[in-house]
Symmetry: D2
Subunit: 353 residues, 4 copies
């Protein structure tokens, strides 16, 4: 069955959109309306070729995309918009001309260490703060995160240092709670195809960071993003975090090729997680530089005030000195591509929150 995507002109009123739909309906089997990237897209199933031609001439229509070949990638496709999306995460733009660095500990292990880590990453220039509250752990016997007990400390970080907060959501039931403290919710690699979770996150009106699954192809990853966009959330950032291969000297294999591939296929911002994909702190700096050099829009890096005491993934966290040394290199690599680095939303931390 043919299926076409119709990008409507910007700033149409709801009434104009309704009119367009009502004119399309008689010549098609089905019309579905999506908001994506701040615009309206119609997915028209079973349109006659003649309709497709006529649509291109309507003033309300900006672009008609025949998407037969990639029938599952509609709203994520670059061809639809022809430009990059920029996602606003608590005041920090991700995906524009400047790159953004998200930093912080794998999991929160105590308020004092958290504040020290936040102070260090802010001083070095991180724009956003990551911290794990609910942790997905391979073993039921490992530390599972502080959950709500860590909320107060996270709020304090945001209040004092002004960095918007990124944290992982494992389950539909935690969404509401996490929205109290998080500016962006992260979907981890193991949940990339947790479709009920994706459907719910389509409705939250808050940015989502979608990590690639360990064994997900680029197209499956974009299809997971499509769930979020089709659900109504167009503030989606993708994150390459390494795929599983036969090589064991690093924890996963950073698929650096995926950076230009995804930028070519999709308009969504894309960042790299060098900490999980490399898995050893001494590999983080080279992989982070490579990510930006390949064209990523940012990085998410694990930093811990005392990695050797971290309750999870200490082996891959940078300490504040390592992160401080890395940031100027990252600025310089970004500059080679003509890009700056995003600053935190305000210079006066006391005003933040």
């Amino acid at each position: 069955m043919t299926r076409i995507a119709v990008l409507l002109a910007a700033e149409l009123t709801a009434a104009s959109i309704d009119t367009v739909v009502s004119r399309v309906l008689p010549a098609a089997d089905q019309v579905q309306t999506y908001r994506a990237n701040g615009r309206t897209v119609l997915e028209v199933t079973g349109a006659a070729p003649a309709l497709t031609e006529r649509l291109r001439e309507w003033p309300e229509v900006e672009k008609v995309l025949e998407s037969a070949q990639e029938k599952d990638l509609l709203l994520t496709r670059r061809a639809l918009y022809g430009s990059d999306s920029v996602v606003d995460v608590g005041g920090v733009p991700v995906g524009g001309n400047a790159v953004a660095v998200i930093a912080g500990p794998c999991s929160m292990d105590g308020p004092e260490t958290l504040m020290r880590t936040a102070e260090a990453v802010r001083a070095a220039g991180a724009a956003l703060f990551r911290v794990g509250l609910f942790k997905p752990r391979t073993s039921p016997y490992s530390f599972q995160g502080l959950g709500r007990d860590g909320f107060e400390a996270v709020r304090e970080v945001r209040r004092v240092y002004g960095m918007p907060i990124v944290t992982e959501v494992l389950s539909v039931r935690d969404i509401e709670d996490l929205l109290e403290v998080a500016d962006m919710l992260q979907v981890g690699a193991r949940n990339m195809q947790n479709f009920p979770l994706l459907s719910e996150l389509g409705k939250i009106g808050r940015p989502v960071l979608l990590k690639r699954g360990l064994a997900a192809t680029v197209r499956e990853w974009l299809s997971a993003a499509e769930y979020l966009l089709a659900g109504g959330n167009d503030e989606i950032i993708l994150c390459e975090r390494g795929i599983r291969t036969f090589e064991t000297t690093s924890r996963f294999t950073t698929d650096i090729n995926s950076i230009p591939v995804v930028k070519e296929l999709s308009h969504l911002p894309l960042i790299v997680d060098p900490s999980h994909s490399a898995g050893h702190s001494r590999l983080v700096a080279p992989v982070a530089r490579a990510g930006l050099a390949a064209g990523a829009d940012g990085l998410i890096i694990e930093v811990h005030a005392q990695p050797e005491k971290a309750l999870s993934d200490g082996a891959q966290a940078l300490d504040p000195i390592g992160f401080g040394n890395l940031m100027p290199q990252l600025r310089n690599v970004a500059a080679v591509l003509g890009r700056g680095m995003v600053a935190p939303p305000v210079d006066e931390p006391a005003l933040a929150g």
Copy 2:
């Protein structure tokens, strides 16, 4: 930190168990109690070597396992029991001397087709019936399953043909509903590390079929089973359904080596899904035979009355004739290993349900 597992003798009273725990506690940091495989296991953290020795002499103790190396695999380990678990699925034993065949359509697409499929697989000797109600689909635009609208037809299959029902659960919020119609809930490959879902399924008191993730190592798979066991559910069946590799002539790569590996490491029953791991109906019979020849305790096979009309995965479903031809071969392969094939719970279907 040392951690030991203590398997208590069978048929201890709750009071005796309490006494044992109270005697262990003064010489250890922590004692945790699990019910697994119908038995009680103590996980003792920080036990002094002397305690470990003494425990072996207590009459209430059957076995002490020093599990330093495999610290995340405790309740799934074969060494703890030294024998195979048998899981009762609605009256059908899985994991014993006879192999069990689960058959049915990928997803339910209509009551009539479902009944015809059920009649055919029952006639050919399937012991359990599989059917998808909530479907995990890579694309948001694909058919997502009938959900509750299919319940009535599934109940009818169970009532008329007497086969216990196996169906997939995607989300914590569907568990209660699905327990109305299912004898066993299946965790799909994409949810193998959906830890909140695993934790909830630990409490349902109903068998769980745990499929291996596309990129999950054998140890990660067993760790996921450990979540279920540690949560209190010891009726767990594992399912090898193919891993993702570079090869594309079949949909996934059936890891046939994993069959003897898992049987060696764990006491849990293990079945093979030749339909998903091969992905083409004409490959199903050879892979199914291979699974049993390698020592699997059963198979889960997609059968559809009219595969060419199936709403999902039709390419990999057998039709009734293909399934009918396969079953005698499977009986013969099982016989080579001295195993029979499990029959449905009753011979008179009208009596079932």
Copy 3:
């Protein structure tokens, strides 16, 4: 450019073949002649569609195959012949209705052990004997095989026990020497795309066992076989020996799906190497049974009189007792598929050689 394959009728004289070629040439860009599977195949490049039609009516032509899609797989394709090839290895047919078992040590480490191993595998029913003389070793510091120093003992095995000999060739320069003692030369996984070696082996007039590369797709593997066939050698046997994946509990991952896939695509005989693909002796029996159950035409199994003293790969070798226990199981699995098991060429070993 169009390319078609023309299978000529059996038992044409050389003169008739020349006539056919001379009649095709004016209507095509190029005609190349191959002998494969004991038959003559013309590869016609740039044939006009009319020629293709006419060819089907010539009495000298048995089949015309339009091979646009699979342009690199011509002589290996099942569609060309529509039946299974049978390869004669020193009197033992491989690929027919009966399955063949090749057994012997990974590498020869001494004449006495070799003879004891040969006696044991012969007694248990192996039809062919494998032994490594030139060994491919990952490290330059590992034992590289006895080379010519082992020839005398290998000849003795053949003389006394009558089993044809299979051994690996690493280099063009060793071919001539090895043909003194070997009935079939084996190309190892690491040399599957050693194209100069394949080209030379196309000319030897002796069977070749072509192992699949660790990262070779099924099509690349068949393309490697195509080198041998196009070079003039149609006595080719394929061997699945496991592919490299992320899983580490077994040495490689036996791609059991490849068995029916290859049998569908190609007419060549196909055997399985459970020893290398599993990598641990206790996994060999289940994987060997699975290979036959999936439809393989035979097995190549490492057996050593004293595995614990083997100079290479002892961990994966069966001892004589293990092999003796396995063989009846293999006979029974073969029988399920209506197949027998090939016997060594003569019953009276003293007459062999």
Copy 4:
């Protein structure tokens, strides 16, 4: 068995070395002497612990390395020298502080195109010229390279543009011929474990570029380099060219993590091949930049005067404009790490050769 490596002091006379060996022998089972990295290394098997201790005090001994854990990696190990090797390729240093770019066509398809390509890459700043004469092709029906027929044109490139020549060797029998025109011989991915070829290349006294196999682990790759070093050739450059994974949007997966991993494990220079690892010309620039950003010592890039007419791999070749645009970016990325870019050996091309 214990095995230790002994790095002797620089500039010892042959007589002094003999003396050292003769003093070690009585206290060990075996002593083997290697020249690597311009130095002498003794591999001592079965040394008593006391000997190991005493050796550290001899003036002729610079370092003693107990290599039990990594017994196959001896001469490739960074720990032995603690510094980077620099390999001189026809006057161009690879592995020092400046990065080197090798450019040229996948295969030579004609003298005129070759000269135009050479002119373009030289003008843009390439230091070395790559060109394929003997080509490894998956299919026997693909273009296999011009072989010796291309030698004259290659000599002309070297004479006119002064760039040393890099070309692939497929077989022992071609080595002597290729040494007439090549400054460095390349071992392709498919031959990485062609051990007879590696052994021969250990003796040529000319640099070797060793590409990583499609499914080779980092340690297997270094073991292959060890063959070359142990054979007497210490002018080895490693090349990451992508590994095979499940992802298909790029041809292979560039293992960017391997760059810092290899630099940490080994003293050998390491370059990246973005053309083969990405497989599409539009992905080459981002992957090339990423390679240098991750710390590679250089790049090997396919450039063709008219990619659309190339006889092999045209889809992944840059045209002269694309290469010309990339080079300044590469210079800038190198500069971020404090590195320059190597120039061709002479500025006056007429003087070269």
